[in-house]
Amino acid sequence: MTTKSIDLSLEIWRQKDSRTTGVFESYQLKSISADMSFLEMLDVLNEKLTREGLDPVAFDHDCREGICGMCGAVVNGIAHGPEPETTLCQLHMRHFCNGDTIVIEPFRSRAFPIRKDLIVDRSALDRIIQAGGYISVNTGGAPDGNAIPIPSATAELAMDAAACIGCGACVASCPNGAAMLFTGAKISQLSLLPQGRPERKERAMAMVSAMDKEGFGNCTNERECEAVCPKGISIRNIARMNREFVKASFFG
């Protein structure tokens, strides 16, 4: 492990609440350990701001191990920052250099209103899942887990899609503000598995229409979502969603 430390200039988006206009503010940080995570660097800043009687920067975070999907910000123009397949909480300061200026702003999208500073409202993603991102099975009465054999390769493909953490980086990075990687991942997971097949048509129609209703855009194959996805979700899932949707629309 390194014990290097660096000095940084930060440009952070500050916005009091949804109604107020935001602005970038500049902050200086000295002697930041390269072993710190990005959020720990923000903790250090917030402790400093608090001691100076200033308002600390509000940001969402929870598990700090890259799985809950709560954290996220656009760092130097890239959602979750420069490291591939890394959430903001797992980004470490060793990837920055002494004297760097880091610009930090919230995930911006029409469907994600800003609540304060770096905190946005991503409840639109929940509503897409509520539209059909499930298999309609009540508790109890499920057949034995081994009753339906599922080829290992299929289970793995479904797992690749199911790994989505719902952070919304795909939306923030898409020039169209599309949530198609997010929606495609759930539709893929459930349509690949035999358990999800009975409802595949209704699911595709309902989830795509919920996506449109929430104000998300559509995919024009920019692949920005795939590039920033902290879980490496492939845009093949968007293709699979499109196939599911087309099949459902024509043959529904």
Partner: protein, 642 residues
């Protein structure tokens, strides 16, 4: 305080069936008349809310995060146990029951643990039906792996993200019920108070995290699924928002708190590396299937691991516990790591770490196989430490992870307050003094999917509660209590931060106090010292803490301060509980009570009980009650993993 376990009569294997037959039911058409509040949306909370709504109850679900999908169950990596015996290696409900009760060092209730083992198989079926992509064999059947404390392969998994996938299953079931209108979802709400009417739990008070508004909600029963309190130690593997507030507020209203000192310290975490550190990251126990734990034989050996020849390495777990080897239970593995480091054999810059080495497994199975099993864990490790476990051994050290203690519940998962239920990690019921790996997910889902709905029906069927509204004075008072408390927290901050401390300054101090005196090894002297230091720390908090901002706005410092205020009060019963239990058991090692081989030495004559604490008021000493544990089906033995 009456501690009636309400364990049904009859042979162990028939208790749950008999109980379900003898308890009251609510007719499907009448269920819509009952409102249930579920606080928390982890495995237990989400599965309970979904299941109750499916059955027809009106459910209000609350979570602290922006979405129910983010609860900390999501971070569980390794797997979930079930007694399916798909591997034909001798597993059975009886064996899962025995392993769990033995793993807990015979400090849990037989009937609860047996029921857990019984419903474990239904959980797997349910999750498969929901579309959880469990790992499969090439023939298409479900795959299993081994976990600590068991000699059979009974753990089901979805790569290193089992908790995530199970949570998404429960979240999808919950989402379906939100869509149907049977569940009203309240996100970004923190429970601040429990409301009692005529001694029954009838509602909660919440603070909206975005607006700071205080609101109250009424219901016919309240279920707490608010997880564990590991963050009392500041550094733990818990998520940042995990806290004791909901459980502690319920405790202050009369809910007994059981075994608060039973805190699991997980052996395989990434070691601490700086004072700025905000949390510790767990590396799944499943890594111990293929990783070998070792330290240099010579104390103070600072050579790189690759330069230390085989004969100069001490694979201490394999040597000391030949039959379980690296897969001994968590408490045993943690204590041994501490022992090695205390003897000066720790590695890394702080010398508070041991190696977990995959070199032999890679030679045996190849890199591809190892990466298929643990790829995401290796990646996570490398991101944090900048070191690749394929090329050099991991460095690991124990960290606070899970709390076996929690609100006391009877067989019906009801606390000592009628109408208040506690499920998942929030209760104390199934893991005794030590939880086995892959059993937390099992318990959360067992409680939520398969147990709580029966308990709720029985409660409604037998008490038929009157309707209440949140305009009752009890609700008004509770809201006021909450507002006053927020004002009290902010009171000292009017004149700015000069000469003041931040919330984290004090939380770190509390963490060190607990870790040093109430961590992996405890003794009377240290515990008494910690207990004596606590009031000054509490006073310092209320006098010197500076909280910026206001109550009626998004204020993350205020949120943390409120949680810390409760941790500071709660810490007293952690310490008192450890002090009162003058034996060693599971996670709780009292240095005064050890075998000749330095293993935990139980004292079944004097301590075969659950310790339950009753709140007596601010500044009053809490009262200890005991629920005696009787073992009719197993004989408590000195655990041996040799």
């Amino acid at each position: 305080m009456q501690l009636k376990s309400n364990v049904p009569e009859g042979p162990l294997a028939e208790k749950w069936d008999k109980h379900r037959f003898s308890t009251k039911l609510v007719n499907p058409a009448n269920r819509r008349k009952y409102k249930v509040i579920v606080v928390g949306t982890g495995l237990a909370g989400a599965s309970a809310a979904a299941t109750l709504a499916e059955q027809g109850y009106e459910v209000s679900s609350f979570c602290i995060q922006d979405s129910p999908r983010r609860a900390h169950s999501i971070a569980a990596q390794g797997g979930i146990n079930a007694a399916k015996n798909y591997q034909n290696d001798g597993d059975s409900i009886q064996r899962l029951f025995y392993d769990t009760i033995k793993g807990g060092d015979f400090r849990s209730r037989e009937a609860n643990v047996y029921r857990l083992a019984q419903v474990s198989n239904n959980i797997i079926d349910q999750c498969v039906a929901q579309g959880v992509p469990f790992a499969r064999e090439y023939g298409g059947t479900l795959a299993n792996r081994s976990f600590g404390g068991a000699q059979v392969s009974r753990t089901f998994y979805a790569r290193g993200q089992t908790g995530q996938q199970l949570l998404f299953g429960a979240y999808s079931a919950l989402s379906r019920q939100i869509k149907s209108g049977k569940v009203t979802m309240h996100t970004r709400q923190e429970m601040m108070e429990l409301v009692l009417v005529d001694g029954q739990a009838r509602g909660i008070v919440t603070r909206d995290i975005i607006s700071g508004e205080i609101a109250s909600y009424s219901a016919d029963a309240v279920i707490l699924a608010t997880g564990g309190y590991g963050n009392a130690y500041f550094l733990s593997t818990n998520a940042m928002a995990s806290n004791v507030t909901a459980a502690w507020r319920a405790h202050r209203m009369g809910a007994g708190f059981a075994n608060p000192s039973f805190v699991q310290i997980h052996p395989t975490c990434i070691p601490v590396h700086g004072s700025y550190q905000s949390k510790l990251t767990l590396m799944s126990e499943s890594l111990r299937n293929d990783g070998r734990v070792w330290v240099p034989k010579k104390p103070g050996d600072t050579r790189k691991p690759g330069s230390i020849p085989e004969e100069e390495r001490d694979y201490y777990l394999e040597n000391k516990y030949p039959s379980f080897g690296n897969l001994v239970p968590r408490d045993v593995a943690s204590r041994n790591a501490k022992e090695q480091c205390d003897a000066g054999k720790g590695v890394g810059s702080t010398q508070l770490a041991v190696y977990l080495d995959f070199a032999e497994a890679i030679r045996r199975d190849g890199e591809a196989t190892i990466l298929k099993k643990y790829g995401n864990l290796f990646q996570m490790y490398e991101k944090i430490t900048d070191s690749n476990p394929l090329h050099e051994p991991m460095m690991i050290y124990p960290a606070v992870h899970y709390t076996m203690g929690g609100l006391w519940v009877d067989y019906n998962l009801m606390t000592t307050i009628p109408g208040l239920f506690a499920i998942g990690e929030c209760n104390f019921s199934d893991h005794g003094a030590n939880r086995l790996g892959a059993s937390a997910l099992m318990q959360g889902l067992a409680d939520g999917y398969f147990i709580i709905a029966n308990c709720i029906a029985d409660y409604f069927g037998s008490t038929n509660p009157d309707k209440v509204s949140s305009t009752l004075p009890q609700f008004v008072d509770a809201r006021k209590k909450c507002q006053d408390r927020i004002q009290k927290l902010l009171r000292g901050s009017k004149n700015g931060p000069q000469g003041k401390l931040t919330v984290d300054d004090i939380h770190k101090e509390l963490g060190i106090l607990l870790w040093d005196h109430c961590g992996m090894a405890r003794n009377k002297e240290g515990l008494e010292k910690a207990l004596a230091k606590l009031p000054a720390l509490q006073e310092k908090f209320w006098k010197d803490v500076y909280i910026p901002g206001k109550g009626k706005e998004l204020n993350q410092s205020l949120e943390r301060a409120g949680r810390l205020a409760d941790f500071l009060e709660f810490a007293e019963i952690i310490i008192r509980d450890a002090l009162a239990r003058e034996e060693s058991c599971g996670c709780h090692l009292r240095e005064e009570s050890q075998t000749e081989e330095n293993e935990a030495k139980r004292d079944d004559v004097n301590y075969s009980h659950v310790s339950v604490w009753e709140y007596q008021g601010d500044g009053q000493e809490p009262v200890l009650h005991k629920e005696e544990l009787t073992f009719e089906n197993v004989t408590p033995s000195q655990r041996s993993y040799k």
